[in-house]
């Protein structure tokens, strides 16, 4: 193994140039002022952006919860289907992902507009028009639509490995469908659930494209704020970097909590 480790060197160089160096720059900006002197000012300024941060965390959490609610049953059904049906469902799930992310989100704009397709159809049967675009609901919809596959895939991949004989063993021991679900399927799928939550929550919290396109600039998320601080009319790299850092730390903390939960389950038997 040891002598093959040079094979990883291209990747190491890549990581150094595109991860370590930029991260160092973010840190440097976050702890300096415009003249380059060390300061805590920028970090302390995050108080003024607290509402955006809070909104982002809440909407990210709602989107993640919805993805779990929609994705979990689907992952279960997929994992128990015949091989052919599994392939078809996987295809249907991945197909929209092959289209550009921006295009997909644009199409939601035209669907949700006040005189868009949905209101048009509803109008014909005498309903609406409903105000849907530029709301928090539209942003959450965009997050769920774009990130749902990242919830389904990890859950599906752990569920698919649950052998049929475990279902039979549970039934044999007197468990009905509900009990089999609660006592066998759910605990065994937990690692997938945790990966899925992380994979949906992280991009949801930090998105700015979805909130700009479906939120119409009136429902700014922390991602939008950071973007403006870098490329807006009055750029301030130092505060932008500080906010990025805070967001990153918050995400790391939430992932660590999740991971802890997962490990606890894994070794639960040993600790008891």
């Amino acid at each position: 193994m040891k002598k093959d480790s040079w094979l990883a060197s291209p990747f190491m160089v890549w990581v150094l140039i595109f991860t370590v160096v930029p991260l160092g720059m973010v840190c440097w900006y976050a702890f300096t002022d415009a003249s380059g002197a060390f300061t805590f000012e920028n970090i302390l300024k995050i108080g003024t952006y607290w509402d955006y941060l809070k909104d982002s965390l809440i909407m990210g959490a709602v989107a993640t919860a919805l993805c779990l609610l929609l994705g979990y049953p689907l992952a279960y059904i997929m994992s128990r289907a015949s091989w052919g049906a599994q392939q078809t469902m996987m295809m249907l799930l991945m197909l929209p992902q092959w289209m550009n992310f921006l295009l997909r989100t644009y199409s939601w704009m035209t669907l949700l507009e006040n005189n868009g397709l949905i209101n048009n159809i509803l109008g014909r049967i005498g309903l609406g028009p409903f105000h849907m675009i530029n709301t928090k609901g539209a942003i959450i919809l965009g997050m769920v639509y774009n990130f749902l596959p990242y919830m389904i895939l990890p859950i599906y991949s752990v569920m698919e490995k649950i052998h049929d004989s475990l279902f039979e063993a549970a039934r044999d021991l007197g468990a009905n469908r509900f009990n089999t679900m609660r006592r066998v399927v759910f605990p065994l799928s937990l690692p997938g659930v945790i990966t899925g939550i992380t994979m949906v929550f992280v991009p949801s919290v930090s998105t700015f494209v979805i909130s700009q396109m479906l939120g119409g600039g009136r429902n700014m998320l922390i991602g939008d704020v950071i973007e403006r601080l870098f490329v807006g009319a009055a750029p301030n790299y130092n505060v932008g970097a500080a906010l990025s850092l805070v967001l990153m730390v918050l995400i790391l903390i939430s992932m660590a909590v999740m991971k802890k939960f997962d490990d606890g389950e894994e070794t639960g038997g040993l600790m008891m």
């Binding site: 004989s165 039979e168 063993a169 039934r171 044999d172 021991l173 009905n176 038997g269």
Partner: protein
Amino acid sequence: MSENIISLKNISVSFDDEVILDKLNLDIKDGAFVTLLGPSGCGKTTTLRIIGGFQEPDSGDVFFGSERINDLPAHKRKLNTVFQRYALFPHLNVYENVAFGMRVQKKSEAEIKAKVAEMLKLVSLDGFEKRRTSTLSGGQQQRVAIARALANDPRVLLLDEPLGALDLKLRKEMQVELKRIQSRLGITFIYVTHDQEEALSMSDTIVVMNHGVIQQIGSPTDIYNEPENGFVADFIGESNIVDGIMHADCDVEFCGTRFECVDTGFGKDEEVDVVVRPEDVIVVPKEESGLRGTVTSVTFKGVHYEMYVNVPGEEEEWIIQSTVAQEEGKEIGMTVIPENIHIMKKYTGDYASDIEFE
């Protein structure tokens, strides 16, 4: 002991036009150790799965005592299964695996604790409560699977080739252990295996199956000593099966030699199958028997030598077992005492190909 606990009536199953079970009838007595024995594909596992409720028969009835249970789902049947690959829950430790059934029934913690302790003691795994199942050896996992199935107090325990994955020594130990557990609990065991030796050493009753049809039901000694047809004789142990002609009661001719036997009731000059176990062949000087052949190979097997003998005019070589080795190439005479000659009605199938169906 005399009541039937499980009865199968006219059970038929087929998959994709292939007949798996053909109008099977079987009564299993309460408290018995019954083994379903046959090559794979004979329908023994399907029979077990029908009793367990994991598979529905195309036609026929399943009775538990006097109650018809065709429509009773698996989780409501008063029987439990030890699965071929154990099927232990990987997320639970030994204690929780054994407790699973009782947790589902919402038994009290104290009751669960006492029962788990009792069950683990029964399978000699006390002290293993906190272990994860993945850290156990195959034999230990098998014991957990048995304890888990028995913790629900089933009246019938179904075992689907439970020892198949264990090595020979462990398998022998577990055979003794299973028999001990069964006689101690006094419940019915229905055991599926393709290993005739396992069947012979554990069962009260053996059900020999082939192609979805029961070939013979009987005690191990009946099955071994009085096989009803050539398939049973061949499957239950190595045998010499040759064509014979029954001249009269107790007078049979095979390999060009007349022998005295103990079978009666065949038609005059009826063509029959004659079965002789390898250990029942007695080697004599060639002048003393009409049944002669040349030794072609000698293999040391531990307790005895196994020898193949080419008998002129016979398609198959005879196989004989003896504690005395003969020289390869030597011409010997062979004889059999009347009690060890088993006469059976002609079996129309091909034994060899039936067994290789496995």
